[in-house]
């Protein structure tokens, strides 16, 4: 089930030192919020990378920057080796948008309520090829079937569909243009578990059959593990860890990843949530005073540079940011902002 990707090939998609800052507050109290603090990610053709991390850590911002819905403050985005921010300044070309499709976090917002379902799919298909009559009809039906929806629903309006049904329409719409890369921002979080597996299998089949590469943003670590070849963990606008999916979840090396893995709901250990232990873990995330990779040959620990230490064999492609590193600018995330007690303890 793991894709055989060679790390030497040109990545289909790559970001280099991507930074995105938002202005916060009114005219008088201007403050910059650093949503992305220099992110490097890369995916190979046909590879699925899961992006997980704290709420507010910049996952959607990263996807939106790559989809050119948001203008990065600095850094590079390379599609098939081409630096698109210099070749297509300003707006993304139609071709770019054809090669890269985004499925959004929220199916409620992404479908205009005045149109029937068929309208969304037809419009997407037209971007790609001129189909009419029976051929169009057939294409629409096969798209609906692909996402496990009844063809009857083509005549429905978005409000007549449940949340899960709407999300499947959004996926069908992305598929309509035959993209090379799909950026899926929590595409399954509104789907029930039984259907969710179906959609994950569908995504994998698209990768296997058509070699579509994907960035799969999710909060569901189990599904990230199920679907993705690699997992990257974002915290406060920066990557803190990445590696092969099974490896990283079995051996989380960064305290934040450890925290994340420990919080996965599990009915068999219900009531295991312990605020005190949580506070200790948070403390380590925010202010570790030692790094277990101290002495890493060639990669000395640093408080000021985001040094990446290798975990285990090179084949695991498992990298972790030095525990000691403290970003100079406070990033956007704040769910883990230290409370007074946290710091004192």
């Amino acid at each position: 089930m793991t894709a055989t990707t060679t790390t030497t090939a040109t990545p289909i998609l790559e970001t280099r030192a991507l930074v995105k800052e938002f202005q916060q507050g009114g005219f008088l109290s201007k403050r910059m919020l650093r949503a992305l603090g220099g992110v490097d990610v890369s995916i190979q053709p046909g590879e699925i990378l899961a992006l997980v991390g704290e709420s507010g850590s910049g996952k959607s911002t990263l996807a939106r920057c790559i989809a050119r819905l948001e203008k990065p403050t600095s850094g590079q985005i390379l599609l098939d080796g081409v630096d698109v921010l210099t070749t297509e300044k300003g707006h993304a070309s139609r071709e770019y948008r054809g090669r890269l499709q985004m499925v959004f976090q929220d199916p409620f917002g992404s479908l205009n309520p005045v149109h029937r379902i068929s309208h969304f799919l037809e419009r997407a298909i037209r971007n790609q090829e001129r189909l009419t009559g029976a051929a169009l009809e057939e294409r629409l039906e096969s798209l609906m079937a692909r996402v496990d929806l009844d063809a009857n629903m083509l005549a429905s309006y978005p409000h007549e569909l449940s949340g899960g049904q709407r999300q499947r329409v959004a996926i069908a719409r992305a598929l309509a243009v035959d993209p090379k890369v799909i950026l899926a921002d929590e595409p399954t979080s509104m789907l029930d578990v039984s259907v969710r597996i179906g959609v994950l299998n569908l995504m994998r089949a698209l990768r296997d059959d058509k070699g579509i590469a994907m960035i799969y943003i999710t909060h569901d670590l189990a599904s990230a593990r199920y679907l993705a070849d690699r997992i990257a963990v974002l915290f406060a606008g920066e990557l803190v860890e990445e590696g092969e999916s099974l490896e990283i979840l079995a051996n989380p090396a960064h305290p934040y990843t450890e925290l994340l893995v420990s919080a996965v709901p599990d009915p068999d250990r219900a009531g295991s949530y312990d605020p005190e232990r949580r506070a200790q873990l948070r403390q380590r995330v925010l202010a570790a005073d030692s790094c277990p990779f101290d002495g890493d040959p060639g990669n000395p620990c640093s408080r000021t540079e985001p040094v990446r230490h290798r975990v285990g064999d090179a084949g695991l492609r498992h990298l972790v940011r030095c525990h000691l590193y403290r970003p100079a600018t406070a990033a956007g995330a704040n769910a883990l902002v230290p409370t007074v007690e946290d710091v004192a303890s």
Partner: protein, 315 residues
């Protein structure tokens, strides 16, 4: 079910009436929620969970219609409440976090303005008192007070969801309806917020109707739960019983449809890829405080085939 329930739903049927077809979204559903109880409602996408929640709050809009049944809350007939009674009933008695919570905030007002409105509209408080409470609420859901000045689009999806949760508990209602409240949250924040809701719940004694697709979370949190399929309840009982001794095949498939977080990576198959239950009979007792719908022979055969695939990852 006895009448000591805070919320008592009996034989509720809700339909969406269309020119071409009429969808029975909720089909003869009965359940009750006791004071201080957390009741989980699970089930496939489109099975009618949100419709039930909207019916309780009297938010159904044309073409939706209650075709039968009753809803009693604290001894009052919810379906008969008039305008002013409804205004008091919503927020103060029953507050809801909507499934589309992330989008339910007004885009042109700041977070602070919207939160303040809840207090000033329902309680005799000054603006300043209201603002102070808003700040506390925001911190409760782990968002910096400074964000009161932000507009919704300046917050991440999960932050917006947390704001709405904070707003729902603002007036300390007797019952909280949470429709997929944590889908946009990372598991760390999710766990802390659910712990917070649980603490508040124990402290203030409100009841919770908790709708989620996340069976692990539901079992962890709920006292009682019901599983729906296509507008019908197929199984109902204590959460731990359904977790360990589910009687209905659909419940079992749902419980086992999760990919594991440890061990081998195995191929799973989702339900809903072909197999449908065709007929769901009325609930029958299968144990103490535990009911399940008997399965027709026809359904039994097709589902059994399907679930051998879905259960591959477990045991």
């Amino acid at each position: 079910m006895s009448n000591d329930k805070l919320l008592d739903i009996k034989n509720l049927t809700v339909q969406y009436r269309g020119d071409v077809r009429t969808t029975t979204a909720v089909d003869d559903v009965s359940f009750g929620i006791a004071e201080g109880e957390i009741f989980g409602l699970a089930g496939e996408s489109g099975c009618g969970k949100s419709t039930i929640a909207n019916t309780i709050l009297r938010l159904l809009k044309y073409p939706a219609e209650v075709a039968g049944g009753s809803i009693m809350f604290n001894g009052r007939d919810v379906l008969a409440l008039n305008g002013e009674e409804l205004r008091q009933f919503r927020w103060r008695e029953v507050a809801m976090v909507f499934q589309s919570a992330m989008n339910s905030l007004n885009p042109v007002l700041t977070i602070g303005e919207q939160m303040r409105d809840i207090f000033t509209a329902h309680l005799p408080v000054t603006k300043r008192e209201a603002d102070a409470r808003c700040g506390e609420l925001l911190e409760m859901v782990q968002i910096d007070q400074g964000r009161l000045k932000s507009f919704p689009h300046q917050l991440s999806g999960g932050m917006r969801q947390r704001v709405v949760i904070a707003m729902a508990v603002a007036l300390r209602p007797r019952m909280l309806i949470l429709d997929e409240p944590t889908t946009a949250l990372d598991v760390v924040v999710q766990q802390e917020i659910m712990a917070e809701i649980k603490t508040l719940q124990a402290e203030l004694g409100f009841s919770v109707l908790f709708i989620t697709h996340d069976m692990s979370l539901m079992v962890e949190l709920s006292h009682q739960m019901a599983v729906m399929y296509s507008g019908r309840i197929v199984e109902q009982g204590p959460a731990s019983t359904l977790h360990h001794r589910a009687a209905h095949l659909y419940t079992r498939a749902l419980m086992n449809a999760f990919p594991p977080i440890t061990g081998e990576r195995v191929e799973l198959r989702g339900l809903g890829e072909g197999v449908r239950l065709r007929r769901i009979d009325n609930l029958a007792p299968v144990g103490p405080n535990h009911w399940a719908a008997p399965i027709s022979d026809e359904d039994r055969m097709s589902l059994a085939q399907q679930s051998t695939g879905a259960e591959g990852g477990q045991q």
